[in-house]
Symmetry: C2
DNA sequence: TTCCATAGTTCGGATAAATGGAACTATTGA
DNA sequence: TCAATAGTTCCATTTATCCGAACTATGGAA
């Protein structure tokens, strides 16, 4: 098992962020992690929007979020602790993440 | 040739916007159209960042931007007039487009 | 009118990326 | 040592992207 790679904040690309968050499952996972007050495990998202996500797909989604620089994943015993990198990204692309998180909330409201 | 379809603003999805702008060519085209003070033709982007874009690819990119609700395309004689739908999107997802346009500008500066 | 040039679209085949089941790895607790 | 849990990796299938070639639409010139 390869070690988890996290890009340096200066290597984070806008396109990568937008691509990572252009998937409904990933944007849901990310906004949840960003809004949580403690680290979240991967398996906490075994279901997203009442839809079960296979383990291998979940793992892939977390890798995309990680590679985009949106989250940091650290193994803690048997599980993975995922936290958002919002503060770092805010320094590089001010207002970007808040605008996306807000847009996601607005859209969720409308559907609900 | 099918008529050009434009989604109603209330049908515009965040995921669609992020997906459309997750491509370096498309985000360059969009920010250019959004920043221009008059409509732009498709062929104005035959080159993007000194890289030639094939016609069929360009046409595809414009369709993605159109389907995402980011631009409006109207035939004007022999050519197509493309304008951004920034104002409409601002009403639906406040701050989203400005944040992305700004992030794109910051990233372009860093590379330059 | 007919013909040609220009601007975009559509088709189709090749290439690349997403999906998810099955097998694997790593860690902990019994 | 063994079993259980949390994730990862592999790989085959499906899906999306890319781009050359053929096509459509409009307008201007002969």
């Amino acid at each position: 098992m390869r070690p988890l790679a996290h890009p340096a904040i200066e290597d984070v690309q806008l396109e990568g962020i937008l691509h990572a968050l252009s998937d409904p499952v990933r944007v849901a996972i990310f906004t949840n992690i960003a809004g949580a007050d403690c680290a979240q495990t991967c398996s906490a998202f075994a279901e997203v929007n009442d839809k079960p996500i296979p383990k291998s797909s979940l793992s892939h989604h977390f890798k995309v979020l990680r590679d985009a620089g949106l989250i940091r994943s650290e193994r803690q015993g048997i599980e993975m602790r995922n936290t958002s990198r919002c503060a770092e990204i805010e320094g590089r692309f001010p207002g970007l993440i808040p605008a996306i998180v807000n847009a996601h909330a607005l859209q969720a409201d409308r559907v609900a």
